[in-house]
């Protein structure tokens, strides 16, 4: 290949690479989904991203995951650069939890930045700050999921504590880096994290963080149930419906009192 760089030959487990996405940041984006996640959100829409290992569906027809080097991923990412140019798009690293393979992702993001490609990550921030910081140093946008403010509920629905998540968001929210945007996302799951008290707590927490651009509320969807079936895993939230537009707006009005909120 045409250039040597640090981390070029590191390898990671990539779930898949999706071209020309319009849902994961500005413009048309190439999304690199990494395998492996420490959380067990009951509503997870990408269950095939949870396991860090390469796995196969029960019928043997589909394999999830592929070992790739940073450079192999970059070769795919570069392919769409003319589209990034016109749309303001770029690369988004998602998961799973991309921090599960933080060293790999840091090398990837750094190299993409060096090549002038806009970078974003989608993460839960469930990791040590030492792993996060090098990624943020050359990143354009971090989309961080903050699933529940209430600690016990967070543990109940995601399987992990939120202390470290809140601490990392606080640190990132006080960073003063040029070109860095922090966007907080809340998947609204009816009955789980959409009470008034929960939303007020969320708003108050974010209000104090200058680097937070806005809060984005996402409606819960039952995407991924088909994949659960294929993998033979039980789906955790059987009786929950997608929130109505009206309810979404009600939630937005609450958080908007503290932090700019979009749906």
């Amino acid at each position: 290949m045409y250039q040597e760089y640090e981390g070029r030959d590191l390898s990671g487990t990539v779930l898949r690479i999706v071209k020309s996405s319009i849902y994961d940041g500005n413009g048309l984006r190439t999304v690199v989904f990494m395998k492996g996640c420490p959380l067990r959100c009951k509503w997870c829409s990408t269950p095939e991203g949870i396991n860090a290992k390469i796995e196969t569906t029960k019928d043997g027809k589909l394999t999830y995951g592929n070992r790739m080097t940073v450079e192999e991923v970059m070769a795919e990412v570069r392919k769409d650069s003319p589209f990034y140019f016109h749309s303001g798009g770029g690369m988004t690293v998602s998961g799973g939890e991309m921090l599960f393979q933080a060293e790999f992702v840091a090398a990837l993001v750094k190299q993409a930045c060096k090549e002038g490609i806009n970078t974003a990550v989608e993460t839960s921030f469930y990791s040590s700050w030492e792993k996060i910081e090098p990624i943020l140093a050359c990143l354009n946008t971090a989309f961080v999921d903050l699933k529940v403010m209430d600690e016990a509920r967070h543990r109940a629905f995601t399987g992990v504590d939120n202390e470290i998540i809140l601490s990392n968001i606080k640190k990132a929210g006080n960073l003063d880096l040029p070109n860095f945007k922090l966007i907080i996302r809340r998947p609204l799951v009816p009955g789980v994290n959409d009470s008034e008290a929960e939303l007020v707590a969320l708003g108050q927490f974010l209000e104090a963080l200058p680097a937070v651009q806005h809060l984005q509320l996402l409606p819960y969807h039952r995407y991924g149930t088909d994949t659960y079936r294929k993998l033979g895993i039980d789906y955790g939230l059987d009786n929950v419906e997608t929130p109505s537009e009206q309810h979404m707006k009600w939630c937005q009005r609450i958080t908007n009192n503290y932090v700019k909120t979009i749906i």
Partner: protein, 793 residues
Amino acid sequence: MPKEYMNRIQALRDNYMSHRVEMDILDAYYVTEGFKATEGQPWQIQKATAMKNVYEKKPIFIQDNELLVGGVAFKPRAGILNPDSACSVIEKELDTIGTRKYDPFYLSEENKKLFMEEVAPYWRGKCVLDRWNAMMPDDVRTMRDGGMLYVDKKFVRGYGENTPGWRTLLKKGIGGIKKEAAQKLAQLDDADGEDALKKIIFYKSLIITAEGIIALANRQADLAEQLAEEETDENRKAELLKIAEVNRHVPENPPRNYYEALQSMLTYEFCIFMEQNASSYNLGRMDQYLIDFYNKDIQDGLMTKEEAQELLDCFWIKIAEMGLFQDGESAAFSAGYNMTVQVTAGGIDQNGRDAVNDLSYMTIQATMDTALKEPNMTVRYNMAKNPDAFLRKAAECIRMGRTMPAVYHDDAGIKMLLNKGVPLSQAWDWTPCGCVETNLEGRLKSYTDIGEVSMGGVIDMVMTNGRSRKTGELVSIQTGDPRTFATFEDFMTAVKKQIDYFVHTMATMNAYLDYLSEHYRPVAALSLTYPNCMASGKDYANGGATFNVGNGINIIGQADIINSVAAVKSLIFDDKKLTMAALCDALDHNFEGYDEVQDLCMSVPKYGNDEAYVDTFASKIYTYLVDQIEKYDSPFGHLTAGMLPVSGNVPIGQSVGALPSGRKAWLPLADGIGATGGTDVKGATALLKSVSNLPHSRFTQGTQMNLKLDPKMLKGDQGLNNMMVMLKTQCTLDIYHTQYNIIDRSVLEDAQVHPKDHRDLLVRVAGYTAFFVELGKDIQDDIIQRTEIAQFS
């Protein structure tokens, strides 16, 4: 709120939709009468007299609500026949023309009788098609009958595929041009020899034709006056008197205003169409030709913008009323009665500056308003110079499901003209032509599409060592039993030899086409507006235009050859997963009982996914191919190439057996320059990246790219922005052309079941638009199976 003028447009549109497609025999009858009356005269004089006879006698009509008038036949949506080109077609198809699979035409018993008694006997053995059948060399016939090439269509219908000299028409009028011809004639003396005599004959043909055109316009004026007299509604009476005044003045004289300019263009368009019954008499850059008339009328307060739009919409509907008659087989190759009369907006002007003006937007608006299949609206998008608002207007029209405008990357079009030998100063004025070809207003001659080469056929002939899988007969050259190929290079040598032979056979056909066209296809009506025809004393058909370009060969089945070559390289030689013998066996059995082999074939990376392994062959094969085509010369310059498969990928696929790409026998080849339906799985960006590997600008007759998008993708402002991003990236990738179907698959499927509910459903077939329900079932199916890009991700 719909604009008030839309009441008229809606009424005209309803009227249009109420007409069934019929066959007109009277034009052919009057042509024949003209030839009979001038027996023994030079062919040019006979043809000119024949056309004058048509213009003076053909039935004419003015319909309710019309502001612009005329027509090529006795009614709207009727096809005409040029007996001097292809009389025997109707004789052959007399009993099937009304029921045939593609583009049926209703023909009354009375007209059948008229045709058989008065027209057919005169032309037997004499029309261009019959002469071609008598002269056709055996090698061409064998390849044609084997389904490897399609070679007959230009013998059926004549010169179109040009952009007439609209500026000359509007500047001088037919009367002014006629006067010039008379002056030229007066300076000539037949004692100076044959060259002088040839010029004398040519100028006389111009004068005769011009008289006919002027007579036709005056007949239209007479009819309008007569109708005005009978009209009781005062508003309509005034409109009819205006029609009379306009037609009395143009096209004989230069137009005095925008209204007259439009009528002048329309009358001339109909007249040149009647001369040849050919497709693609392009309207070119109407936004440029008409802008001075428009600005003056607006400034002088003679016309409002709404009135200007209304007239443009009326013009659009009149163009849609023309319908192309062709033989059943040609119709299969470009089904949908398509005329491919192209109008283009935007681009740059002759000083290299942004050419977008009010009319650029209004021509697109006319397509939004009328929602018909013609004219073929396109834009020359010059990314460096044209404003985003213009691109946005185009994107809005596409999103409405109008299937138009198609979008050209302007710089690629300019490069194609340069490659045709046109200097840059004039290449900036290029016009798209027909489906996706390139042209120049009033200056350039060529047939842009003389016939089709089957690239699926090339691979078929390599794998069968020259034998047709349909008949077992030897149809091409023998390039060796593929089982004996020891290396990939051996295989490619065979591919190249087959390509050479296919091209050689097309070039052979082209020599006959040029010969017959020079002798039996004078086009005085068209030549009137080519200034260099006037200056040189030569008909367009004989090379009178400023620039003469060798005819264009059309290539079908790009993805089929690209994927097949990659599959052979991967499976047989690189990864050795299969022996050539095993592949040959599977192909011989059309993969039946060889599912594993077919799965292997399908597993090799496919063109359309931005994979270098396969895409590299898009560059290599097509560079080799165009190199071979350009080696053949003609009186008008070396031959040229394009990739505009129209709907020909369906019928031409019916002669091609199973291919290493994994495609089964007799199925359609891939459409346009895109991927084989269903094999491009990485979205729109990957598809365009693959397509950018073709050497577009070297295919100077254009490269045609169909994209089918789910309407949901283009929702809202963001959707429109995404569309604009795609179009801009097309330019960055140096891809010449893209066009769009924005329709739910379910709507198309419903239209197959309930055609009456979807009579005005438009689809982009190839470089043209058609009413879906008027297409043959297999072409409908082909459109449905094209990969629909449902989301950008």
